[in-house]
């Protein structure tokens, strides 16, 4: 079973992501911000990270950069799931090493499609 780390400071958003992914057979672990996400990612083996951008303590882009510095996370897919939709922000995400950018509110079927695609 693939493990997905969902990082978001909104409990509702984490719950929505977890429900959609768990209903499709994935194991989901959660983190409330980038710092906790980094801690979870280093203590558990994770197959995919889905992170929000605007969070306290550590934002999503910083989390992506921090993860990409770790040997185990050089090729693990990382998706940004955020309300940010500007091209400039997406370019920053790409430069940081993100695999993809999804804009909230997400469509569950689309999220599952993207997850299946990047985990292939």
């Amino acid at each position: 079973m693939k493990t997905i780390l969902a990082v978001d400071d909104s409990a509702t958003m984490r719950e929505m992501v977890a429900f959609v992914l768990e209903s499709a057979g994935y194991r989901v672990i959660e983190a409330e911000d980038g710092a906790q996400g980094l801690e979870r990612a280093t203590s558990t083996s994770v197959d995919l990270v889905i992170t929000d951008q605007n969070m306290p303590n550590m934002d999503g882009l910083t989390l992506v950069r921090s993860l990409r510095e770790l040997r185990d996370y050089k090729s693990v897919p990382i998706l940004l799931l955020t309300t940010e939709s500007s091209d400039a922000m997406k370019a920053q995400g790409r430069a940081a090493g993100a695999t993809g950018w999804l804009v909230k509110p997400f469509d569950p079927a689309t999220l599952l499609e993207v997850v299946q695609k990047v985990l292939r």
Partner: protein, 177 residues
């Protein structure tokens, strides 16, 4: 009070009085806005909390039933998939509740900052121990008040830094790099 024998001082004092009236009126309106935002958020939060409880109950049941019937009749699994599809639609709308809640938080913060600046402007208008007697002193005080009022109004520009920026056009979009 302004010196009535000096018309320059009297005019400058009147101008300062106008600024006070502007700041007070804006502050009163913002107080009403802040209260309405707080009430709206409370209603939204209560409604979202009830929806989440109902959602959790349904979601837990359907996932458990789906797992239990994984190798069961195809017809039943199709029915579960249909229920799941309805819950997926709810996921979409529950996210919107959450985003609106964040948007209200951002608006409350902005209104709060505007009010802080207006109150600062009003505090400048409070009668000092020695009232200004010269027009220059009134003008200086008015300028300081005006700076505060403008700084308060500029909080509206902070919209660009609001946490919720997704618009309908981009919502749900996907870019894979």
């Amino acid at each position: 009070m302004a010196d009535p024998r000096n018309p320059g001082t009297s005019d400058a004092a009147q101008a300062a009085g106008l600024l006070v009236a502007v700041a007070e009126t804006l502050n009163e309106r913002l107080a009403v806005t802040a209260e309405e935002l707080a009430r709206s958020q409370l209603l939204l939060r209560e409604s979202s909390a009830h929806l989440m409880i109902a959602f959790r109950g349904a979601a837990d049941r359907i996932v458990a039933a789906q797992n239990a019937a994984a190798n069961g009749p195809e017809e039943r699994n199709a029915e579960y998939a249909l229920v799941l599809d309805h819950l997926y639609r709810a996921v979409h709308h529950l996210q919107s509740h959450d985003l609106v809640n964040q948007l209200i938080d951002a608006q409350k913060l902005r209104v709060g900052k505007m009010r802080e600046k207006l109150e600062e402007a009003l505090s400048l208008a409070a009668p000092p121990a020695r009232e200004p007697q010269q027009p220059e002193q009134w003008i200086e005080r008015s300028r300081a008040m005006l700076d505060c009022i403008v700084a308060g109004i500029r909080q509206i520009d902070d919209d660009a830094r609001a946490p919720v920026r997704s618009d309908k056009h981009h919502a749900g979009s996907v870019d894979l790099f």
